[in-house]
Symmetry: C2
Subunit: 463 residues, 2 copies
């Protein structure tokens, strides 16, 4: 018999149909002569209510096994539900218990568990309502990202995870090595003998696929990456992970205007997609986690994002009737409190700030004619601050070489990146989106460790 | 003016339309009073032919810049082409050159380059016909994979890249560390002091997401991973990469039959998808790279895969009228020559071999009642050998614990994996597909380094 998913039955199952379902017991309620069990198979937040009558052979013995967490297969007949809370329920004709879950030791009993506790059982926490909803929404975000770019003819390109270049200077790097750490080989002058390492030189985990994505954009015009990136930054906060996924589109023949247009369309598309495909999960987050997530999603979808320059943003912040913790002054980077003031209080919608001072931004961003600012853009969102960071890239060889040197980088290591400007260079632009920040933003989850299945953070690489 | 992609113009552009295109010059042919340039924007293998008449202002000066590799923007009018080889061409009304490419130094001149040479210019090689076709097909394979699973309600789950468990024993591991290799800290008894490392213990790059995918399948029923995996194996062959992408679906309430059904449907789907979306690129591979790729694709799509046990396969190999290099005997693993004999010569189509001897397979595969074989399956394909490896997983706690110990692994490190059998265990199964092997198989490319944008191999981590 073909198994049906519970989400599909709840949506479109009709009385008198005879489905078979398989899933895990969430709760059991015993009554006189019958029992209700709620079964979940992960396809939806809602459970299917199964009614088991005492006529069922071995009723007592089976019931004893149907504790929270037990795995079951039920065949039966759908009937309209008389109870509140569900349209339809399954009258069991046969119940098979695959695996039990001892109520004395199974940690997920029917009660609220703290997210801190759930992190200690990362191998079981996806079986809860909240983490289940998070990972369904995470999947929907992923699907939306691929669909958005594939519809527009962008190629998904896999940029390398292991890299020999540390030239982006974007943060602290993890080393990757096949050397024996107990006995690192040395050269005559006591340096590490990297000729004995797997790649013959020092290698690291990537912090961004952008430079390689630019390579691919110079062949395919429009590409995107969607893969893991890494920071060995010792930040034990609710917003930092050592391993996180990033989305980085890169477009040839594109300037900062086109980049902003794409990023805005992209965010609207993802929020719309998730509201449409996961309405029940989003409703759950709005009720249980953060009662502003639905309003925030609607705000993103329905408003044209404000666009202003960094210089104008500084002027607005200087005029603001708010005490900021960090100073505001032209040349200083915007802090989270400033970003949130602009998006939440001033504009009450996402804002795109452009043309930041060159000295606080990366070497590859295109220098404006004022020689002081670069064609960078950050999208600031209510509640979370920066959600997207992008720029038009410097496509002029001589300007790029100047910027590389000014930031103390080695042009020789960047020979191939400079070659892209030597041969068939074009205006091009792209942006980066921290995927877990997006899921956090979408769901209202307070801690980023709860929106990735197996978080990697300082002193923690469990499961 | 909105830019149009060349693939779309070649497909559906009509005479008298006035598009703007942007791309890179592939070739230039000068004639009396006019010139042809072939422009490619990466959206297709075919170029758009642009005709430039000498009436164009600055004709001579512009023509001098239009060398192979130059970046151009052309606006003009589409006209039916009188020449052979194209339906339509673009009569230029304005030509803008963004970036030139000096013919004296630009390495990609109009001639055949060896794939070895192209690997030394990994930042430019995607601009060639062959690598361009490879990466379009690679993208199509990726898109097909997501579409296949999303249509069937599977969640894409991101399993960790950095892992503290080396318990799968699947090969040599890369270490990930934030320690200074020049000065590795020591404990009092001269061991490495991992308490000072980022995660507080030894960590590695993952070799497979399967164990974590099983965690997720026990909550969502059907999931898949699609991400990078790593082997620090010193194999300098045309089939090995140190960094490669893997696809690993995992299904709860699924046995080996269901696993084989899914894998077969999956392969057929991807081949069909790529033939439909990249016909021109596939035709190119068939003509230029390997004249069997189209027949192989049709073979996969149209034939029911042969299914036989390992024991039967050994009997067939023992009877075969072929001299094998490696011995054939029950208990030994199948070598590539044996796999290819079965698929290519005997069955002339893909074959699924099941129920391998337990001692040559991983600890997590379900033990058969004979206690000698496990519910493993490998799909062997003509031309390439093993393309998919999977199994039904051991869901019985006591059997799994026995197998863990028998293979010399530490049950304490696998506590969470064993917990999946302790609480709500179910029959489940999954498989792994090496993504680059698939792309190699699809395209006929001889060397795996030419189907991933930036290959990582022993002594090589360029770009």
């Amino acid at each position: 018999m073909v198994n049906r998913r519970i989400a599909e039955i709840l949506r479109s199952g009709q009385p008198d149909e005879s489905p078979q379902i398989q899933g895990w017991v969430r709760t059991k309620r015993e009554s006189k002569g019958f029992a209700f069990i709620e079964v979940n198979d992960g396809s939806s937040l809602a459970n299917l209510q199964v009614v088991i009558n005492q006529d069922l052979p071995d009723y007592e013995a089976i019931l004893k096994k149907l504790n929270t967490g037990a795995a079951v297969e039920v065949t039966g007949v759908l009937v309209a539900s008389l109870g509140k809370g569900q349209r339809i329920e399954l009258k069991a004709e046969a119940v098979k218990v695959y695996g039990e879950a001892d109520p004395e030791t199974y940690p997920l009993q029917k009660k609220r568990h703290s997210f801190e506790f759930l992190r200690t059982i990362g191998h079981l926490r996806s079986r809860t309502n909240s983490l289940g909803a998070v990972f369904r929404v995470r999947n929907a975000c992923s699907a939306a990202i691929h669909q958005f770019f594939q519809e527009r003819g962008f190629l998904w390109v896999h940029t390398p995870i292991i890299t020999a270049s540390d030239c982006e200077g974007a943060g602290e790097l993890f080393s990757v090595t096949s050397l024996d750490l107990k006995n690192v080989p040395r050269t005559d002058n006591q340096a590490v003998d990297y000729t004995q390492d797997f790649f013959g030189k020092p290698t690291y985990l990537t912090v961004s696929g952008q430079l390689e994505a630019e390579v691919m954009a110079m062949a395919f015009s429009n590409v995107y990456t969607f893969g893991p990136t890494f920071r060995a930054e010792n930040s034990n906060t609710s917003r930092h992970l050592a391993e996180f996924w990033m989305v980085e589109p890169e477009m040839a023949f594109c300037d900062l205007e086109g980049d902003m247009d794409l990023a805005e369309a992209f965010l609207k598309y993802i929020f719309k997609f998730v509201l449409e495909t996961c309405p029940e999960d989003m409703e759950f987050f709005n009720q249980r986690i953060d009662n502003s997530v639905l309003a925030t999603a609607e705000n993103i979808i329905n408003n044209q994002f404000e666009r202003l320059t960094y210089t104008d943003a500084i002027a607005l912040l200087e005029k603001a009737d708010v005490k900021f913790e960090y100073p505001v002054s032209w040349g200083l980077d915007l802090q989270s409190e400033h970003e949130r003031y602009l998006a939440e209080q001033l504009f009450k919608k996402p804002a795109i700030v452009t043309d930041y001072p060159a000295q606080i931004k990366a070497f590859y961003m295109r220098l404006n004619d004022d020689e002081k600012t670069v064609r960078a853009m950050d999208i600031l969102a209510p509640k979370i601050g920066e959600i997207v960071g992008g720029s038009q890239r410097e496509e002029r060889l001589e300007v790029l070489e100047r910027r590389v040197l000014a930031q103390g980088l080695n042009p020789e290591e960047l020979w191939w990146y400079l070659d892209l400007r030597r041969y068939g260079t074009v205006p091009h632009a792209g942006f980066g989106l921290g995927f877990e920040r997006l899921v956090q933003f979408m769901t209202g989850m307070a801690n980023i460790r709860d929106v990735i299945p197996f978080p990697r953070t300082p002193q923690s690489a469990e499961f």
